[in-house]
Structures are given as C-alpha cells and as structure tokens.
Symmetry: C2
Subunit: 297 residues, 2 copies
C-alpha cells in the first residue's frame, strides 16, 4: 500500500495507473475509520481496479466553535486497517499541503446547503465542497463513494459533480449501524457508555417517525413533535433539528404524500450526532425486499 | 473540425483522444474572435496535439446592467476562422446545457478578485471561476491558454488551478494590439470610428505611466494622476479605474520599488475597455530583448 503525503506523489501514481487503463475508486474520509467507512472501501475494491482512500481532517469544514481540534485522529490504526483491506493508496496530506498560506478559492453550493445541518453549521458545506473538489482533482477517480449517514453531504456532492461537470460517478451506500441501531460515526468516540446507550434511541426515534407515516399520518409537524418528545425523553434535550424533508430538494415537507427523508441532529454529551431515514409511505414491502443483511434501509 | 454542442459529445471525443496519449490544448473564449484569440489558438496548435476552442457567452460573469444581451455573437464567422486554423474541436454549448434550471454550485476567488475590475463588476470573477471550472472538467486539457489583456482574470485562473489542484498548466500570452496600440477586444466592436481613435490613447496613457516610472518617479499617485489627466483629455472622462498594483497580489502600490502592473478600465461610448502594462523600473533592457514581433511587452 502506497502512503502518499504529497500531491505530486499521488499525481505520479495516478498517472501510471491511468496509463494502464485501470478504473480508480476513491473514498474520501477524515480518518478514525469504522465499519461505515469500510463498507465504502469494500465496495470500491469490488467495483474498481485501484482504490485510493484519503485521510484528512479538513479544517475548512469546521466552524469556529466546533470540534476540529478534538476530532479523533488515529492514523497508525487507520493505516493498518486499510492495509488489511488491500487499499492501493492512502493520501494523508498535511493542512499546509492542502491549504497554502494565501489560499483563496472556494466552492459553494447555494441551494441544498441552506437546510438541515447547513442552518447551524455555517460554512460547513463550503468547506466540504472545496476539499472534495480539491481531492477529486488530485485523485481523479472514476467512481467516488460516500455514506448515506451524511445524506445532505452526499446530495451536495452529487450536485457539485453535476454542476461543475466532474467526470466522476458518485455512489452513496447505506448507513451501517451498531446492533443497538446507533449509526456508525467517528464522533461516537466522544460518547461515554451511558451516552452511547441513550444515543441508540435516535434510531428508534426515526423508526417511530416511520411508523407514524406508515400508519397514515400525513402532517409532518405532528410526526416531528412526537419524535421530539421521544428523543427529548430518551436521548437528550439538546435537539438541533428534526425535519421531514423532500429527499431531492431537502426542503421541509408539510403534508407527506411521497417519499420523504426524516433527518435529525442531536447533541449527546460532547457529540453532535446526525442520523436519517428515507421513508416511502406506500412502499414498505418494496423497501424490505431490497434490504440486505445489516442495512436498515 | 468537430463542432460539439453537447457535453457528452465533448467527453466522448476527449476520451478517444486521451486513449491515444495526445496532449490536449484548450482556449476558452466568448467568441467574436480577433487576433488576440488567434494568437492563443496558434500557440496551442504549436504546443499540443488536439486543440479545443470553446465559444460560450457566459451569462454568470455579466452583471445585471452589463452587456450580456448586446455582446457580439458571430458563430458562423468564428467557426470558419477556427476551421482555417485547423482547430480540432469547437465546443459551442447553449446556456441550458451549461446551467440546468436548478444549478447551484459556484466557485469564488476571495483575494485577487477584490481589486481592479472586481470592485465595479460584482460577481464577475465568480462567474468566470465557475465557467472555467466547468469547462476544465468538460474538456480536461493539459494546457489552457489565456490572454494577458485580461490580466486579472489570468491571475485568478492561475490561482483557481493552484488552489483547486487542477492537473492543468495555464499559459498567459501577451496582448495583441492594433497598429494604433489599441488592445484587441471583442468589445471594440461597439466603437464608432471616432471612438476607436480616442480609444487608441489608452495605450499611450499606459506608456506615459511607464515613461514616468522609467524616469524615476516612485510615487504611484502622482503617476496615476498624470495618466488620469491624459486619458480624461484624449479618451473619455468616464474612467472606472487607473491603478498601479503589485502584479502578484493586485494590491495598490504606493511607492514603486519593483515590477508593477499599470491597469485601467475606461468607458468609451458604450464600451468598457480594459488595458494594462507591466513595468519594471530597472528592467527596460531585459524586457525589450524579450519582446517579439508585434508584442508590446
């Protein structure tokens, strides 16, 4: 496994690989790898000939009062894991490599990023769009893999690729959960055992919302109110948002008539956790047939 | 010569060309081609194996009260010219092809674009950065060519390439001028014969500034005041700006101690014309040795 810390090393490697007409798969991460990341890596290994994983805790996507400094960093452990997965190259740049001192070009998405996490995390998606654009230009993959846990991020990256015409296919893979239902996240590292147990009720809250929709409730605000009470009681009172939105535009839905996304962000101790569930009011049978193994939707 | 109006046609062609390991040269234009554009095309023909020229009057780089609608469009004529130059492919997309209805991703440069044209043309360089990013991703050139007449644009594109890590080399070629000294520009089409004669004094204004610097004047404001009087008298009183700036940061220079850029924007009739000159206080001999043919610096 090649460990590249410089952009020139990645370029050199990629140019060689492209000469051989190999398909390049790319999984951008911030490290502190868990089974969610590994599901992306394994899919990339299956579908492409040369798999690149980047590990970079990107400062431009953290707000001033967010957890950039405390974000978990375990490069040695991550490297061993990726070696075992037979990843071909890890890109592990420094902040200065990615952002020279007079750096001044940013990429912003102006529609999807107004909602959900974009409301509280000002500048977050601009940081994501900027670093993803940079990584795409450095790695030049044919296919790049993202996790559905960051649903909004995945939608924004898809829009970025469409609107800026990147010659890259984006694949979004299902959320990987612990047995308790807790969505895998590097930020789960922040949780105490007691918090981790409470956090598992986030998914039950989403399932409660789903159940109400399946039972025929169409008024989104009644469902989110019910969920809010549930999460307030079992998880935490620091709820950033619980929203039922159109899965394509991410705009709030008032009356549920088709497929919706239930999305939430809740603080549990020091961690701000997000989770989501796509619900199709009339499509329960279809979606359960489609379900595979440990994937919850 | 291939005339592609769809992105898929360009991609298909480019994929074939890249298979053959050919070097791709790219000249992005807004059409209404003149000798300035052709100097870029000819350089691209010399240095690369497959030359792509785009012709697209990009709406996102025009302000609300600017000349988007009246900007000269002569596609048939342009196409014939490019055929004669043995250009390999012209990309001539519609606005809808480039900007789908719910388009929402933009690229912005936040430092160099604060100065010169960026002050009066709000949003202009964001439009430029966005369309250039799109075109780079569509054409995927190895080398792209820009004219020094749009000095600020060229610097911003270089910054864009550096900061977003495009695997592309940017080459900036000297201003091509008419015999009178008037810098070639599609917007010269707007000028009456009398205005064209007046406009030729813009270059003489720049040369006046250069002369003062060569004579040892170091106070930038004294030079720009002199130039302002000259241009006011011979060209037009509608001066947008006359600035002496650092050629790298584009920030105003107070005391001239090294290489500077003298840049101006002046309205002549309906046309807003720009021009510039790099002046090296101590380096006159070197720059005159470097000069070739009809290039003025």
């Amino acid at each position: 496994m090649i460990v590249a810390t410089s952009i020139s090393k990645v370029r050199e490697t990629i140019n060689n690989v492209k000469q051989k007409n190999k398909l390049i798969g790319f999984v951008p991460t911030m490290g502190a790898l868990h089974e969610g990341h590994l599901s992306l890596v394994r899919k990339a290994k299956k579908e492409t000939d040369f798999v690149v994983v980047s590990i970079f805790v990107n400062p431009t996507q953290f707000g001033e009062n967010e957890d950039y400094n405390s974000y978990p960093r375990h490069f040695k452990r991550d490297k061993e894991i990726l070696k075992q997965e037979k990843v071909d190259m890890v890109f592990y740049p420094s902040v200065r490599t990615m952002y020279p001192e007079d750096f001044s070009v940013y990429v912003k998405e102006t529609s999807l990023s107004k909602y959900l996490c974009g409301k509280t995390r000002k500048g977050h998606f601009q940081g994501v769009c900027t670093v993803v654009t940079k990584l795409f230009n450095i790695v030049q993959p044919h296919i790049s893999y993202f996790g559905q846990k960051d649903y909004q991020q995945a939608q924004i990256v898809k829009r970025l690729v469409r609107d800026l015409n990147f010659p890259i296919k984006i694949k979004v893979l299902p959320i990987v959960r612990e047995r308790s239902g807790l969505a895998m996240s590097s930020r789960n590292n922040y949780l105490t055992q007691e918090e981790r147990e409470r956090a598992s009720y986030l998914f039950r809250g989403l399932k409660l919302g789903e159940e109400l929709i399946k039972k025929g409730e169409k008024k989104a605000h009644l469902i989110t109110e019910e969920m809010r009470r549930f999460i307030n009681k079992h998880v935490s009172s620091k709820i950033d948002y619980i929203n039922i939105v159109d899965p394509y535009t991410l705009k709030d839905v008032d009356i549920i008539e088709g497929k919706v996304l239930i999305a939430l962000a809740v603080y549990v101790g020091k961690a701000r956790l997000i989770d989501n569930l796509i619900v199709n009011p009339g499509g329960s049978r279809k979606s359960s047939i489609k379900g595979k193994g440990r994937r919850f939707f």
